[in-house]
Symmetry: C2
Subunit: 406 residues, 2 copies
């Protein structure tokens, strides 16, 4: 199917062997989804080519490196990287290794993020640490970060030393910015801090989402294409706005998506007590007693899986069957309950949902995302580049950021 896509029209001169881009004149949603799928295929092939095969390490290392990359995903980062390079006149060959590296890095960080957040699902399947244990998952992530260096060093053969080093610097900067963003959020979680302002949220998103998903992929693509300072600056401003629009839409989807299309856990952000623009807006709008209750709930951890608590179940069962005396139960009951009352309950999460619904925070967030997307699109329209499917993807990505359903 991939190979059978027909290539014709105004985009032909933009293609290189192996590319099978969408047609320039197809409707924007179709162009974007085809472009993303095309880039994903190219990048997965490239990733497979640099993940080694060695039977001694296969089952606990190299097979696991491909697990997340092969799960269904948008692959937005490499598409942005490729589109920026190609729109500005660069070659696919000059950017493909970098695009694949960014996607590989991203998947390594997802493995570590899932361990840090205790997440159970990633792209519709159990997280890597649930499947193989945290030690193996952590090591796979580390090995991916190490392995990602090699194609970037290979870049020197295609791009020369100067550009390759600039790209390495971009990636080092990205990794540092996203660790800082992660640190910011972990510090808020540790302190139970929910009295945040919008600029705190904007700073975290700038570091965790914009740098990682937009600024770096686009900047790397632009460097590979030898873009000038004007283009780099314009892309940087657009990418910052796109990151905000994209993250706010992510937060909106987490609370209001169609579950079948979404593929992640609905309301997961509330269970985890994530710091979102929506939550901040709702906390600012409600009265003091509601706010106090909401913060108390948010500070509680999400419940641990109950499977390990066979002993608790046995005790409740023995009590129900009259086999534990009132005296014994008076001692045991508070201990059994104290664990559950220290965790969030479904009723408490429903309280947070209702608070958000009443505050109009979802509508507020949707319009905040739309405003950023409009500004990003205006900036992108100012790029000096001739018409191409790549440019149309870049200019359309702002609409995609806020219109997507997953």
């Amino acid at each position: 199917m991939y190979a059978a896509r027909v290539l014709h029209g105004a985009a032909v001169e933009e293609r290189e062997s192996g590319e099978a881009w969408a047609e320039l004149d197809s409707p924007l949603p179709e162009l974007i989804s085809t472009y993303l799928a095309d880039c994903r295929n190219l990048v997965i092939d490239e990733i497979k080519s640099f993940v080694p095969s060695d039977s001694r390490y296969q089952s606990v290392l190299y097979d696991l490196m491909l697990d997340y990359p092969l799960r269904e995903a948008k692959a937005l980062r490499p598409a942005l990287c490729i589109a920026t390079c190609r729109a500005l006149g660069g070659s696919l060959r000059g950017v493909l290794k970098s695009a694949a590296t960014l996607e590989f890095y991203h998947n390594a960080f997802l493995i570590h993020d899932d361990i840090e957040d205790g997440s159970e699902k990633r792209r519709d399947r159990p997280t890597l640490h649930l499947l193989h244990g945290a030690p193996i998952a952590l090591n796979v992530g580390d090995a991916m970060l190490a392995l990602a260096l090699e194609p970037m060093l290979d870049n020197t053969r295609v791009l020369g030393l100067g550009k390759s080093l600039r790209i390495l610097q971009c990636v080092a900067r990205m990794a540092r910015e996203s660790a800082e963003g992660q640190a910011l959020e972990l510090a808020w979680i540790r302190a139970g801090e929910f009295g945040l302002e919008e600029r705190d949220y904007a700073l975290m998103v700038h570091k965790k989402t914009s740098f990682y998903t937009f600024i770096t992929p686009m900047r790397v693509g632009a460097i590979a294409a030898n873009a000038g300072e004007r283009e780099l600056a314009l892309l940087g401003r657009a990418a910052t706005l796109l990151g905000l629009a994209f993250q706010i839409q992510d937060d909106v989807l987490n609370l209001s998506a169609d579950e079948a299309a979404y593929g992640k856990e609905l309301n997961g952000d509330l269970w985890e007590g994530k710091h979102t623009l929506i939550l901040m807006h709702a906390l600012a709008k409600c009265d003091a007693s509601e706010r106090a209750r909401a913060v108390e709930i948010l500070r509680k951890p999400r419940p641990l899986p109950r499977a390990s608590n066979g002993l608790h179940a046995t005790l409740f069962q023995l009590r129900a069957e009259g086999m534990l005396s009132d005296t014994a139960w008076r001692v045991l009951a508070p201990q059994l309950e104290s664990q559950y009352s220290s965790e969030k309950s479904a009723e408490e999460v429903a309280f947070l949902s209702e608070l958000i619904r009443r505050s109009g925070a979802l509508e507020y967030a949707r319009s905040a995302a739309a405003m950023r997307a409009r500004r990003a699109r205006r900036l992108m329209n100012g790029l000096t580049a001739r018409s191409s499917v790549h440019l149309r993807f870049l200019q359309g990505v702002a609409d995609f950021a806020i219109a997507r359903d997953r």
Copy 2:
């Protein structure tokens, strides 16, 4: 004290401003410990210079990056890197950033290793994840791996593009080799595999210890000094042997060190079921029934901290006070016991110790380490370099590897 060391004699021409090396004619143990301390001071200053300071991220990120590096440690890796470069005629300035990067990388991996192994102590103090939780510790490690890229990219200004890229390639290779070594061990642990041969052990040590502690630091130092192929090959062979000698001595110390000097948990390898040469030798020497019992013990996890088990303690207390009926206890007791019988006990670890003592495995391991150290020293004596404190350190490190008490 550091600055007050007197510089004189044959080593003077080898010194640069800021260096305060040991005297060339001091006894070897003193020369080595002084050389290590000197390098550690230089490297810590360099590390401090590239860890940023930013109050927003200090308490959960940047302060924590310096925690492990500032704890008392040998700093063997940077000393090997500096000594190799200086012995082969390279400058301190040309190698210091790389040496500091290696030490920084090492500390990042220690943080992740401690999480993977569930270790509680590192360099006489609680591990980072015990102090701050696994999410924050994991993120600090990731941020350190990212930050370590920056001084290596800065290297281009001192060493030029070519050498800087070769050094980056060495570091990428090292990270990949050690992840493979770690994967090998994690796979054995997952499979409860204890029927290993010496060559399995040698492969794991080559990847986890030799590449990491000897091959890469020495190779990086040699590249910075512009060494030729003959020197690189000779150093590579010596480094492989040194890694084996060093690791075997590490395993010996874990079972037989003087606890006050050691600073780590004695017998920790037995509690964790680590795959050591000593254990393999003991398992090969004992009879079939002892081996079966030993493997059964080794496959059990080490006990979790008991603090979280207040409920268990309460139930034992209620039973002791006659407040739980026989009927209830018949249901509860197996559940309470099954947890403990699935973990290693102190008696079981003592059984393993005794098995090792009787088998002569410690003596076997000591002589295996000594044999590698002798061969490494002979190779090192073949280096073409004029007499210097750096060369003497390099040539003496084989004795140090097997004579140290921590």
